[in-house]
Subunit: 358 residues, 4 copies
């Protein structure tokens, strides 16, 4: 099923952009885990729109209501469901989107797939708004992982041609703009302002590090940490690429450069470098797990675009109304953390110490 | 489960490099499909080692034996299992790999994961040899798709720094070296010969196009064509990155460049470009589906590398014996086709015309 | 995952007896299906408590709120979630149930399983109240099946020693008491009144017929219609047994009695009898699918029972407060229909015409 | 997928009665488990035909060949595949079964389902022969459970009208005829001989006890031990009913009779009776888990039966050739043990101690 995922932790995401509510159900979080609601609210705020100049001025109330799965703030072991009410429902341009699909959005493909019955309003189930329940799930998982000594740390790697600089193992959670380097961040914000002024948008790359992982997590073939993370990360709208460790750069390298040798260090087996991004054969090696996700430029732009009228079969010029994020990347940072946290929690919950017979 | 995958088509891959046999079971291929065994043999030969100068001289008999699922050459609707016998079993260096893990391989991570009980011989279940049953499954799926007018066409995109050139919608199945451009192919072969002479290895990128897809295939969120293809492609050893359409380049672009406008063409809704790689919102739009997978350089190199002795906890210098592919990329081309064919067949078998009420 | 089920139709049930809400998400109902909300309300009313003398006088507002998945009353193809608010939350006897488990309930086993963190209030996630979202899902599926000419018809087969009589292919949906025979129904009601007066409870059997099924539905081995129905029916609390066709009686029969011969009838292959209950090899044969589910007596009784104090480790006599159904069977009839409708819809959505090559 | 099952332990069964081989793949058995092949052979022998007067004189070599998943006799953690060659392939009466379906078999339903492409020979994938790989998997699981102090003990409960007597927690593994009471066993054998002489067959009931289970195993709603066991047991051909604890008898009882009170005994919470069959709310309570499966009489009988010619659409009288078990029940005993062992192992592998925060 396309809107649910996971083996040991099962996440189901539901809702449309303009339905009564959106939400998520999480099965498999162990009983006895106490949720810090304040921390979750802080996490969700990092994704929320309208916080500042470089994002859309629309306001969304992302406050989740927990329907079940908790006694007080502590999990009771059965499914945990949280919903977020949509205040902005059934917009008037509903029929237009079904007739004249926006380039770069799912309007056309969903219209075909659902035989004309899709809920196109606001992008329906394909809307970026659905990353809010993803972040509820991911924020819970991140807290669970933190209790096991595991941190998930994403940051902007690039926006357009501007590359970030700094130590990828640093948290940007408390920063207004989630770049490692403040100076590069300023340049990125300037670029976003520039493309906004041009009625355009720009893409970027989010990098994520997971630290504190034990060696031995993950499974061979289709159960590798890459497969698990890919399954989640490609669920974030606008992701066009994903790479682990040296990623596409590895394709240009020699084996003698890329292989991470081993040395004993403080009595522990330690790779001397981390070209592998912490994964060998799908299984963690104890080094930080590193990956990057490429986001395309926001498809909603304030320019006239080519489209067609699906009803009349005529070409149409389309102006998408409303104000939109000229760059989704800053708000995508916590979404990538959420996706990684869910994938890692699922793997961790399935992890068992191997049987050792005397 | 890590060694099986799929919703409507379920693939299970089993075996270790040096076990009695490796193989695969495919559930869900409809009854009444007639397999062309010759065509499958040709497909498998593209993956087989030892064919020529640029690959390893080891010989593998990749002839699959079909145990069930067929009556004659026609599927009967129940699970189809094929096995390939391993002629090269239980090598003498078994204990060494468990004690002194090879950099870049799963030796260390599998030793930890399985608590010392892994089958390290020849790489065990993590061996590239396990792509043989993947290709059996993929070759069957490719034939099934061909009967529905769908082609899966992969080719080398780059090796090291050498980029291929040509039309990605061209088949290289009949070529000795699977590059689009013969001239670039010669340069790639020269590079491979060079790194081999240096006792080194080199990575590369495989590009794949799927043509003939109907619009409307795939699902939202976690069921997107990207998610489905990623789940398979990251099951091929040595894949470090995956991108769709413009991929990581999209992260540098403006929305006005990246969005594919629509025009009516021959009475059909047609995107005017294909930056999206044929997928919007996880669902096909009728354009060729395009993706690229980055392969790291073969970790087995003929050089002394740093390792440790897991038993004594001492540093060790390691020389990996045997002869290995200095570049896995040419043989990875059919593996990528196989992965894509399986993912697309799974999606196609789950595809239903939407319900339309009068 | 234990609270979700299904291959082609995925149902997730969430909530606890006294959490803010209970509910369900249904993925996979095709787009374009129009829900009759009135009919659904009528279906849910058959399960609702407090309707008459033979059931508990508690009142529950079982009105589902649809959060998403519909545009108006028509499915849009993405997950459909409905919730039911709990008005009766956090009872004061919460701690008591955790300490002194009620015989016949899950209090003790859940306390162990969840390490003391269960939500024991009102039975938590194990409460019969969770059959309300099951009936929401099942009521939707029953309407979907009806559009395909398939009816799901359950009725009381017995209560205590009193057997029902009549044609099992008859609907009792409009009856106040869901027995086929009104005369037997009166005797059953009298028995229920009697056991209530004694502070006791009584069990019974529900029989279900599914008519209008095409031949060829279901799958071999673990995908048989029996397996599919069992997976759902054993999800209803208090079910202790399940049998198909002649069921346990078949174990006493000779093959010559039990085998259903075939004859041509009106140009169609037709079994001459239906000992098989419409299923051979897990696959429907075109005859009505018939099964029976045995329900144990309601464990909540107004008598002093033996229990223990889990905290002090001392024996305790327990009097369960509150008023409860002395017989759950009449209200279980629509639950069994719901379970069957979900299982059959899942199978139907996975049904594909076999591939026939010329 | 219909021929594979399991969450934490994934079993796939493949093969047809007359294909080159049948077999099974088991994913998820932990690394480091040492298989006793002799014990497995003894287990399989209990299912093998032709052992004595009361079963079919056909001979089957049920010796499994392990293709992978072991190093020596010890699991290495990756998929374990075993196959059994079919010596009896492609019988001449192949076409007849497709044209003139045997009553009580899947011939007709499979012919419809697979659109004429089924492998009808010997019953294909629906043959009782497929219980051989089920028993390979179950025999492995039973050994795994034994190492955790859990025993799975099935025996004949009844054949025809003859009821067995004795303590259900006793092993009959070493007995020639798997009834608890030798005297009742003699009467059962006489009955089987009698029905054989009449060219007929007879059904029966198998009872199974699982002892040594910890309390707290299993999950709510669809993940109950009943659901898990049902999913496996209904995968055995000829099973028509399944009941837990008092089962269908519970439907006749009062709550005051059926509820199992609790008392402290040797410092442990202990139910004073076991009407529940060891399961409350789907979760084990520490008492023996007890269930019974009803088997229909073998459909293959040496009598003329009514059938039709599917090609000509004419009524036909059918005489099924060959010699068959007049009663499958004795050989079904290890199959039921296998099914239970697999279900319990799956649950056990998913069992985690709840998280307890200080």
């Amino acid at each position: 099923m396309s809107s649910s995922i996971g083996e040991n932790l099962r996440l189901t995401i539901f809702g449309q952009s303009h339905s009564a509510a959106i939400g998520m159900t999480l099965e498999g979080i162990p009983a006895g885990f106490t949720l810090d609601r304040e921390e979750l609210a802080r996490f969700l705020r990092r994704r929320a729109p309208g916080r500042n100049a470089w994002s859309t001025p629309r306001k969304e109330a992302d406050e989740p209501e927990f329907l079940c799965g908790l006694v007080g703030d502590t999990t009771c072991g059965t499914p945990l469901t949280a919903i977020i009410r949509n205040t902005n429902t059934r917009s008037e341009d509903y029929e237009l989107l079904k007739r004249v699909p926006r380039p770069g959005h799912a309007d056309y493909t969903a219209e075909i797939k659902y035989g004309g019955f899709q809920d196109a309003s606001g992008g329906g189930h394909f809307s970026g708004r659905l990353t809010a329940p993803l972040c509820v799930a991911g924020g819970i998982c991140a807290q669970y992982l933190a209790q096991h000594g595991i941190s998930v740390l994403a940051h902007i790697r690039s926006i357009g041609e501007i590359q970030d600089e700094g130590d990828p193992l640093t948290s940007v959670a408390d920063k207004d703009f989630p770049a490692l380097s403040d100076e590069k961040g300023e340049r990125m914000k300037a670029l976003i302002a520039e493309v906004r002024a041009e009625g355009d948008s720009v893409g970027g790359v989010v990098e994520c590090a997971v630290t504190g992982l034990p060696a031995g997590l993950g499974d061979p073939i289709f159960g590798g940490m890459e497969n698990r993370i890919a399954a989640l990360v490609f669920g974030i709208p606008a992701v066009r690429g994903l790479e682990f460790g040296d990623g596409f750069e590895a394709a240009k390298m020699r084996g003698s450069q890329h292989n991470d040798g081993y040395r004993m260090k403080d009595g522990r087996v330690t790779p001397v470098s981390n070209h592998a991004g912490g994964i060998l054969g799908g299984i963690t090696n104890g080094m930080p797990l590193i990956f990057r996700a490429a986001f395309k430029p926001t498809p909603s732009i304030a320019r006239t675009q080519q489209s067609v009228d699906l009803r009349t079969g005529e070409n149409r010029e389309l102006n998408v109304p409303g104000r939109h994020d000229p760059c989704i990347v800053p708000r995508a940072v916590p979404c990538v953390e959420a996706a990684a946290a869910i994938a890692v929690t699922d793997a961790l919950l399935g992890w068992r110490n191997p049987e050792i017979k005397a």
